[in-house]
């Protein structure tokens, strides 16, 4: 049966108990992808449903164990999903801090970094030919992880703020994760003239880019770093980088090939147009 989007949220309970028919289950799962608050609720209710199962725990027939164990020796296991590897990397915040440290003191030149796992050399800041190998790139894993530090920091800060802010932070981090998960996601990076580095993960399909910066020097309280989408028709602001540590992640929507992502130093509060020469720009060749 058909359910309007407004009524979808109330289905979290029935979904967690597998009490939806196939069609409604499919519709709900589609809704779920774009509803972080539903995801959180479903997760909690699934854990609850699992306890209902535990309450009905029963001793299985004695011969079952032998049968199952024997079957495992005849059964090939599935490989991990690529996107899952990425999500796993996304959570490596400890790793990310290391990575940020590495970026801040970054001396090695691009294009000559060996891949830790494959032993191959993977180009850095390269504009073409990322194709699918980017998934295995430790560099991207690090950049993704760096982005997740900011997400983690953001979520940590909102612990004392309202549920609404928390929800929007979650929605934003979900939007960012979507870009990082996009099949065509590509990574561009550059050093800034101020120090530190800017990394951009861009998805042409989604026309979105995630901008992270790290290791940038502190500014006086009257100045901030501001991120822009720069096109031939002018520049529009993406947002300000977090002032505390200059690690930030911002989502730029509606980007297209030929645009550039740039960072400038602006008076605190930001400007409507860039007023200084960018400390870094990265062209988006999607």
């Amino acid at each position: 049966m058909k359910t309007s989007p407004d009524n979808m949220h109330v289905l979290t309970g029935s979904y967690a108990l597998d009490a939806l028919d196939v069609q409604e289950r499919t519709e709900f799962e589609r809704h779920l992808q774009h509803c972080p608050s539903c995801q959180a609720e479903v997760r909690g209710l699934r854990e609850t449903a699992a306890r209902l199962a535990i309450a009905r725990s029963a001793r299985p027939p004695a011969q079952m164990e032998q049968r199952v164990l024997a079957a495992t020796y005849r059964t090939r296991q599935l490989p991990p999903l690529p996107s899952q590897r990425l999500r796993r990397d996304l959570r490596q915040t400890r790793l990310a801090r290391l990575f940020v440290g590495w970026l801040a003191t970054d001396q090695p030149r691009p294009d000559s970094r060996p891949d830790h796992r494959t032993g191959r050399r993977s180009g850095r800041g390269r504009r073409n030919g990322w194709s699918n190998s980017w998934l295995r790139s430790p560099w991207l894993a690090g950049a993704v992880a760096a982005a997740s530090v900011a997400v983690a920091v953001g979520l940590g800060i909102t612990q004392v703020s309202t549920q609404h802010q928390l929800d929007s932070a979650q929605a934003r981090s979900a939007a960012i994760a979507k870009v990082l998960d996009a099949p065509d996601a590509r990574i561009e990076a550059t050093q800034t003239t101020a120090g530190g580095a800017m990394t951009v993960v861009v998805s042409a399909l989604q026309r979105e880019a995630v901008v992270t910066a790290s290791g940038m020097p502190s500014l006086s309280s009257s100045r901030v770093y501001q991120v822009w989408v720069m096109s031939s028709s002018g520049a529009r602001s993406v947002g300000l980088l977090s002032s505390t540590d200059h690690i930030g992640e911002l989502l730029a929507s509606g980007v297209q090939s030929g645009d550039k992502i740039g960072i400038t130093v602006e008076p605190s509060g930001g400007s409507t147009r860039p007023t200084t020469t960018p400390v870094a720009t990265v062209p988006l060749t999607t």
Partner: protein, 202 residues
């Protein structure tokens, strides 16, 4: 020299996340299973075969069929352990969601169409304690039962029929003679109340 500043970046152990001690063990075991560790799988079996078999049997009733489905589920745990993502929930929930869904899918595919509805209409609301002879008691299970008992009658009945009975919510509505919207809300409200009662981490 430059290498010293360079982080060792590789696919690391899954982050266990904010879960109870037992489940951290399970998440760790599942990661081992994903790498083909048969001993770890035995440990997983030891922890989960009871609840898996129990919930499947609760829904399907028939012991032979229940055993078959429980075996399929446990083998699926072996097969797809690499797909378990601790960021998305506990290992217990991952396995038991799979078990319950598979049991329910079995029921629905067998009872497709009007035959099922007639059966539903004629069947009295079943007492869900009648497989009690084989039920094992665990502290967590007892707690879940206590929390289930703390719900309103309509919440409790809706949840039991949906989860233990394997009925869809429209079937539950029909059985209880209440509106569809009422059942949807009661199921959700009841589960939320249970979640809070048990202190489940969301």
């Amino acid at each position: 020299m430059q290498d010293m500043n360079r982080p060792e970046i590789r696919v690391a152990q899954p982050d266990p996340g904010p879960v109870a001690g037992e489940d951290q063990d399970l998440a760790f075991l599942l990661a081992q299973v994903a790498r083909g560790d048969h001993q770890a799988f035995e440990a997983v079996y030891g922890q989960l075969a009871g609840p898996v078999y129990g919930v499947v049997r609760q829904v399907l009733r028939d012991p032979a069929q229940s055993e078959e489905v429980a075996q399929e589920v446990l083998l699926e745990v072996w097969r797809s352990a690499s797909r378990f993502d601790p960021a998305r929930g506990s290992g217990v929930a991952w396995v038991l969601t799979m078990a319950h869904r598979r049991a329910v899918d079995r029921v629905r595919s067998e009872n497709a169409g009007s035959r099922r509805e007639q059966k539903v209409a004629s069947e009295a609301v079943t007492e869900y304690d009648d497989v009690a002879d084989t039920v094992e008691t665990s502290l967590e299970g007892q707690r879940a039962r206590r929390c289930l008992d703390s719900l309103t009658d309509l919440q409790g009945e809706s949840i039991k029929l949906a989860y233990y009975g394997g009925y869809s919510y429209p079937e539950v509505a029909q059985l209880l003679g209440v509106a569809l919207g009422t059942v949807k809300t009661r199921i959700r409200d009841g589960l939320i109340r249970m979640r809070d009662c048990m202190g489940v981490m969301a």
